[in-house]
Amino acid sequence: MHLSQRNRKVAVVGAALAALTLLLLVADVLLGSEPIPLSTAWRALTGAESSHLSHIILSYRLPKAAVALLVGVSLSVSGLQMQTMFRNPLADPYILGVSSGAGLGVALLVMGRSMWSATAVGALLASMGYAVAACAGAAVVMLIMLAISLRVRDIMAVLIMGVMIGSATSAVIGVLQYFSREAALKSYVLWTMGGLGNVTSAQLRVLLAVALAGSLLALLSVKTLNALMLGESYARSIGYNVKKRRLIIMLTAAMLTGTATAFCGPIGFIGVATPHVARMIIREADHRYLLPVTMLMGAAVMLLCDMISSLPGYETSLPINTVTSLLGVPIAILVIMRNQKVV
């Protein structure tokens, strides 16, 4: 009886969120420094109109909105996976330094290349794209944080370690910046500014493929995520090979974070905030409910952030990371205040 009731409740929330996401997607395309009427947008999409406005829609607004949606999904899924794996309500790719790891990967690629071009590392880096370098960097930090969290039980201590790992990677990047040539430095600094609008159509395809693959892997691992809610011993006692499955989930999260970070720069607090907003709305911990709702929530929130960052009437747009931080930090603080004892 209750099961069908909650299925219905979550389905209603999911449908409402999907509708909201669609609405935000349309609004994100239409609104901007130059608002575009819906009818014009429709004609541009169907190819009935080719004008200055339809060019803006097809080659700028629509790809940017698609990037926002995909990045929102990627970071939210990654955040939820990390919260469950670390059994830490504040785990998130940004807070635990995984985004910094992705940044270090890109820094080594962009600035390290000139220094080590003759070495094997240099050759390896040169052959890698931003996405691969960022994913590798993210995965390295993820594995370090996993090793730490297995030894340090206190969740706040793990968070502090994450901040320290993030600082350490920033320091390494600082050293790289100091020694790198001006051109390389400039392209790295441009990358750190990030943004959702600088993604090429080839990159958008990679982002789409990774977001789809990562979400699918996450959906296939809902049972493992549920089993891990009570911790490693319990997961093992109900028949789970924890080490193997945890590695798969960690690498999925690193891949999602790495790719999103590679193309859009570090984006904070989406990963920590959206799973909690999803929990507040559906009041469920079961990942079969929580994961799909978190994905939709991530898409909606990121579209909203993109709209806020490029408010109508302003020529320039705010850096996306400032908007996500301003929205996400209060939620993170709320979680700390409320969940002092509840993991």
Partner: protein, 263 residues
């Protein structure tokens, strides 16, 4: 059933400890012990002697340094992880709190060895979960948030989760810790009932010596590098509990099993 004649748990020359970085650290000398189905077995011993390590070794959560653990007549090494999960269930000392997790969902985790890829419960799985909740007297709490239960309520729910696993052997690490006195008795009485009515072997560690002596069918004692096992009465006659309490200001009353201050 074929393995009913076998002890549910048989430990042979078991050496427990940690194989940390090459040099194994044995924390208790080798010993042997056994427990049968339908028996409530209390594991007693002072802190730091390795009671938790022993329980984790019995459940297969960590490998023994030597010797063997047999469950229902077969070495646990020869059971695949998932089969093992249908033979032995475990309740740890962890005070697990997951926000928004429904009691029903928490207990359902015990059905995971039986469910498919997404963990979808069959009609039978749901019935087992409801029965497990009813068995511990928590059926009215099925749709409550498990993180908001009292300590006693949560311990019952964790026991229900282990029950839902439907394993003939149940292992509990200090299930009476954090509980007030009436709840300690209630939990051990519940374990006794589960052992008798469902013919499970229930092994639990505890510091409540007098509760264990009154209710357990068999007692395992770890003390000064020696392992003792037997009925509470037999171990009482052998003065085992006096050894456990030596150098303390406590003594155990041999006729009632009560622990009291020495005069």
């Amino acid at each position: 059933m074929a393995h009913q004649a076998q002890p549910a748990i048989a430990l042979t020359d078991l050496r427990i400890g940690y194989a940390a970085s090459g040099a194994p650290r044995e924390i208790f000398p080798a010993f042997s012990a056994a427990a049968n189905r339908a028996e409530l077995v209390a594991l007693l011993g002072r802190n730091g002697l390795g009671k938790s390590t022993l329980l984790r070794t019995v459940t297969g959560l960590q490998p023994p340094l030597g010797g063997a653990v047999h469950l229902l007549g077969k070495s646990i090494r020869r059971y695949p992880l998932r089969t093992l999960a249908t033979l032995v269930s475990y309740v740890s000392t962890d005070n697990v709190k997951v926000g928004n997790l429904k009691v029903f969902d928490l207990v359902s985790l015990g059905r995971y060895p039986y469910t498919g890829w997404f963990g979808t419960l069959s009609q039978k799985d749901r019935e087992v979960v409801v029965q497990a909740l009813a068995m511990v007297g928590m059926e009215a709490y099925a749709w409550r948030d498990a993180s908001r239960l009292s300590d006693g309520e949560r311990q019952r729910v964790m026991i229900a989760r282990a029950l839902a696993q439907d394993a003939p052997v149940m292992v509990l690490d200090e299930p009476t810790a954090f509980l007030d006195l009436p709840n300690r008795y209630e939990v051990v009485l519940l374990l006794k009932r589960l052992a008798q009515e469902q013919r499970r072997a229930v092994l639990f560690s505890t510091h409540d010596m007098s509760i264990a002596l009154k209710l357990a069918d068999r007692v395992w004692v770890m003390c000064d590098g020696e392992f003792y096992q037997g009925s509470p009465q037999a171990l009482m006659c052998a003065n085992v509990f006096d050894k456990v309490l030596k150098n303390t200001r406590l003594t155990v009353d041999h006729s009632t099993g009560d622990v009291r201050l020495k005069e």
